[in-house]
C-alpha cells in the first residue's frame, strides 16, 4: 500500500534500471514460448508438467534478470512476491478442483429419484435408490444439535462475559478452549462410551446430535462471547439507569444488539457440523432404511451415506457418493455463504 506511494515519488529510485510490469510480462511470454518449443522437440510432455516447468523457468529467468539489472535485494524481493502469489494459487487450485469435480461427477446421478428414495430392497448392482433417508437423518440430527448447542452455548457465553468471576470462569474458558481442539472422532467415541454402550441406549439420531453438540458448543460460545463483548457499555448503562435489572438488560438490550453476530456464529457452527462424518459412524451408525424417529435405532446421514457407499467400492456406489457429496457441499456452502453475507450486512449497517 505505502510501497506504491513511495514508488510514485519521482527521483526516489533510478527508474530506468527497474524491471517494470511490461518487461516482466514480456519475460513471461518468452518463457512460455521457449517452453512450448522445448516440449515440442524434447521428450518433455504433459499439461501439468508444462505448467510446473513454466513456473520454475519463469522464477529462474525473472530472478536472474532482476539480479543483473536491479541487484540482489530486488531480485529476492521479486522472488518472494512470486512466491506469495503462487501460494495463493496453491490454495485456490485445490478448492476449484474439489468443487468443480464434485459438481461434474455429482450431477450425473442427482435427480428427483435420488432425492426421494432410500437404499432398501436393492441388489448390489442396482443403479436406482437414493439418499432420502440420509437427508432426513442429517436434518433431524443437525436440528437437534442446534437446538441443544445454541441455547446452551449462549448461556455459557453470558456466564463468561456477564456473571463469571474468579477461578470458575477461567476454568470454563479453559474447557471451551480444550473442546475447540477435540478431534471429532473423540467426541463420537465419548458419546459411544457414555450413551450408546455406557447407558445401553444403542445407536440413535439423538446420540449423533449429542456428539455434534460437543463440536458445536465451543464455536457458539466463542463467537457469542466476542459479539457480546462488542456491545457498547453505554447501552447497558442506559438500561440500568432506566431501572432495568441485569437479567432484563441482558435479554432485552445486550442480546438483541449482538443478535446478528451471534446468528452468524451459530450458522457457521451448524455448517461445520453438517459435514461431520466420524462422530456419526459411532453414534447413529449406517442404515439403508429410512428412520424418521431420531430417538431410537440406527439412522443414516449424508456424510455417513457417502462414507459407506465409498466402502462398497463399485462404480454405482461411487456415483451415489458423488451425488450425495454434491448435495452435502451445496447444503454446507449455502449455510456458510449466508452466514458470511449476514456478517457483511451487519458490519455495513454498523458503519
Amino acid at each position: 500500500m505505502s510501497a506504491t506511494i513511495l514508488e510514485q515519488i519521482p527521483g526516489l529510485g533510478d527508474d530506468t534500471r527497474r524491471l517494470h510490469a511490461p518487461v516482466r510480462l514480456a519475460l513471461l511470454a518468452l518463457t512460455v514460448l521457449v517452453s512450448l518449443l522445448l516440449f515440442a522437440v524434447t521428450p518433455l510432455q504433459g499439461q501439468a508438467d508444462f505448467v510446473v516447468f513454466v513456473v520454475v523457468a519463469f522464477a529462474v529467468v525473472q530472478t536472474a534478470t532482476s539480479f543483473a539489472l536491479e541487484g540482489r535485494r530486488h531480485a529476492l524481493d521479486r522472488l518472494l512476491s512470486l512466491g506469495v502469489h503462487l501460494a495463493l494459487l496453491a490454495a485456490v487450485v485445490p478448492l476449484v478442483s474439489v468443487l468443480s469435480y464434485t459438481v461434474y461427477k455429482g450431477v450425473k446421478k442427482l435427480d428427483g429419484q435420488f432425492l426421494t428414495h432410500n437404499l432398501t430392497g436393492l441388489g448390489p448392482l442396482d443403479t436406482n435408490g437414493g439418499e432420502y433417508h440420509a437427508i432426513i437423518g442429517t436434518l433431524e440430527q443437525v436440528l437437534m444439535a442446534t437446538a441443544i448447542a445454541v441455547p446452551l452455548g449462549l448461556l455459557v457465553a453470558i456466564y463468561i462475559t456477564e456473571y463469571g468471576t474468579g477461578w470458575l470462569v477461567s476454568a470454563v474458558r479453559f474447557v471451551i478452549d480444550v473442546m475447540t481442539g477435540i478431534p471429532s472422532i473423540v467426541a463420537g467415541l465419548f458419546i459411544f462410551a457414555f450413551w450408546v454402550i455406557g447407558l445401553h441406549r444403542g445407536y440413535s439420531g439423538l446420540a449423533a446430535a449429542f456428539s455434534l453438540t460437543i463440536l458445536m458448543l465451543p464455536v457458539v460460545v466463542r463467537s457469542s462471547e466476542e459479539m457480546i463483548k462488542l456491545v457498547p457499555a453505554e447501552l447497558r448503562e442506559a438500561s440500568y439507569a432506566l431501572g432495568l435489572p441485569k437479567w432484563k438488560t441482558i435479554l432485552r438490550v445486550v442480546l438483541p444488539t449482538a443478535s446478528a453476530g451471534i446468528t452468524t456464529g451459530a450458522m457457521l457452527a451448524v455448517a461445520r457440523v453438517t459435514g461431520e462424518t466420524a462422530p456419526l459412524l459411532l453414534t447413529s451408525f449406517i442404515t439403508p432404511a429410512t428412520n424418521t424417529d431420531p430417538l431410537s435405532g440406527k439412522q443414516a446421514a449424508i456424510p455417513t451415506f457417502i462414507f459407506s457407499q465409498i466402502g462398497l467400492g463399485r462404480p454405482v456406489n461411487y456415483d451415489r457418493a458423488w451425488a450425495a457429496a454434491l448435495t452435502l457441499i451445496a447444503l454446507v456452502l449455502v449455510l456458510y455463504i449466508s452466514a458470511r453475507l449476514l456478517t457483511r450486512r451487519n458490519t455495513l449497517s454498523r458503519r
Partner: protein, 326 residues
C-alpha cells in the same frame, strides 16, 4: 471491556423482590450452563478411561509398544506404537507442505493484495475449511490419488535415494501416505492461513512504514518489521494446524487402506502407515466388544496428544497477542 459494567446491585435490589428473583434465576441458569460444560469435559475423560482401561488390561502385549492392531484375536494383540507413528508422520508432512503455503497466503492478504480484494480472498481461502472432510476423502481417493502416479513415480525416480521417497521394488500405488498427507495439508491450510493473517494484520502500520521509509524492499520490510513481531503467533498457528491434522479422521481413512506400520517410505503404499483416527473409523464397524474398547483406548491417546499440542499452541498464541497489545 464492557463486561466490567456491573448492574448497581443496590438499585435493582431496592426495587422489589420480584426482580431479584429474576436475577437469581438467570444467574443460576448461566452458572449452571458453565458448570455443565465443566462436568462434560470431566465426563469425557472419565468415560473414555473407564472403557479403555479394562481393554488395555486384557491386551496380551504392551499397549504402548506393540505395532499390531488385532484386538479381537485370541489372545488379543494390539498397541498404538505404529498408529501414533503414522499419525505424527502424516500430520508433520501435512504441516511441512501447508505451513509455507499458508504463511504465503497470509502475507499475500496482509501485504500484497489490493486492499479491495484482500477480504474476499480471505473468504475464498476460508471456503476450503467449509468443504466437509468426507468430500476431501472422496476427492483424494478418486481424483488426486489416480492423477498422482506420475508425480510419485517422479519423486521415486529422482529423489529415491532419500528414504522418504524410496519405493524399493514396489510399483506406485496412488493411495500412499504422501497423498493422504497432501489432502491433510489442503484441509489445514485455511486455519493456519487465517490465524497467521490476523497476526500479520496486527503489526502496526508504523513498523511497516518505518522500514519502507528507510528504503527497504517489501521482502526486507517483511523480514525486519513483520516477522519478528509475529514469529511466535505464527508458530502457534502452525501448531493449531498440526492439532487439526492429528485428529482428522475420514479423509485419511478413505485415502489410506493400510495396516499400521512404522515405515518412513511415504510413497510406498504397499507398506503403509495408518493414523489413530483413521484406524478407529475403518476398524470400528467390524470390531467385537473388546475391539471397540481397544479403539476407545486409542482415541484417548489421540485426545491426550491433541490436547497437549493445542494447549501449547494456545499458550504461544496468547503470549504473542498479549505482547501485540503492549
Amino acid at each position: 471491556m464492557t463486561s466490567t459494567t456491573e448492574a448497581p446491585s443496590g438499585l435493582s435490589g431496592g426495587l422489589g423482590p420480584r426482580r431479584r428473583v429474576g436475577d437469581r434465576v438467570f444467574t443460576a441458569l448461566t452458572t449452571g450452563a458453565g458448570l455443565l460444560v465443566l462436568a462434560l469435559i470431566v465426563a469425557i475423560g472419565v468415560f473414555l478411561l473407564t472403557k479403555a482401561i479394562p481393554a488395555v488390561r486384557k491386551d496380551s502385549t504392551s499397549f504402548f509398544t506393540t505395532k499390531l492392531w488385532q484386538p479381537d484375536n485370541t489372545p488379543p494383540v494390539f498397541g498404538i506404537a505404529a498408529l501414533v507413528f503414522g499419525t505424527l508422520l502424516s500430520s508433520v508432512i501435512a504441516l511441512v507442505v501447508a505451513g509455507p503455503i499458508a504463511i504465503g497466503i497470509a502475507l499475500y492478504i496482509s501485504d500484497y493484495a489490493p486492499r479491495r480484494l484482500a477480504a474476499p480472498i480471505g473468504y475464498l481461502v476460508d471456503l476450503l475449511a467449509a468443504v466437509p472432510s468426507v468430500v476431501y476423502g472422496l476427492w483424494g481417493l478418486l481424483f488426486l490419488a489416480p492423477h498422482s502416479d506420475k508425480f510419485q513415480q517422479f519423486l521415486s525416480d529422482h529423489l529415491g535415494f532419500i528414504p522418504l521417497f524410496d519405493l524399493g521394488k514396489n510399483g506406485v500405488v496412488g493411495r500412499s501416505v504422501l497423498i493422504a498427507s497432501l489432502v491433510l495439508a489442503i484441509m489445514i491450510l485455511p486455519i493456519v492461513a487465517a490465524i497467521s493473517r490476523e497476526i500479520f494484520l496486527q503489526v502496526p502500520a508504523a513498523n511497516r512504514e518505518a522500514a519502507l521509509a528507510l528504503g527497504a524492499t517489501k521482502l526486507e520490510m517483511i523480514r525486519l518489521a513483520v516477522l519478528p513481531y509475529s514469529r511466535s503467533g505464527v508458530v502457534g498457528a502452525l501448531m493449531l494446524g498440526l492439532g487439526r491434522a492429528l485428529g482428522e479422521t475420514i479423509a485419511v481413512a478413505l485415502v489410506l487402506s493400510l495396516a499400521p506400520t512404522t515405515s518412513f517410505h511415504i510413497i510406498d503404499a504397499n507398506i503403509g502407515g495408518n493414523t489413530i483416527a483413521a484406524n478407529i473409523a475403518s476398524q470400528y464397524q467390524a470390531a467385537e466388544p473388546l475391539g471397540q474398547r481397544a479403539l476407545i483406548a486409542s482415541g484417548l491417546v489421540l485426545f491426550v496428544i491433541t490436547f497437549a499440542v493445542n494447549g501449547l499452541a494456545r499458550y504461544v498464541v496468547s503470549r504473542s497477542s498479549r505482547r501485540g497489545i503492549a
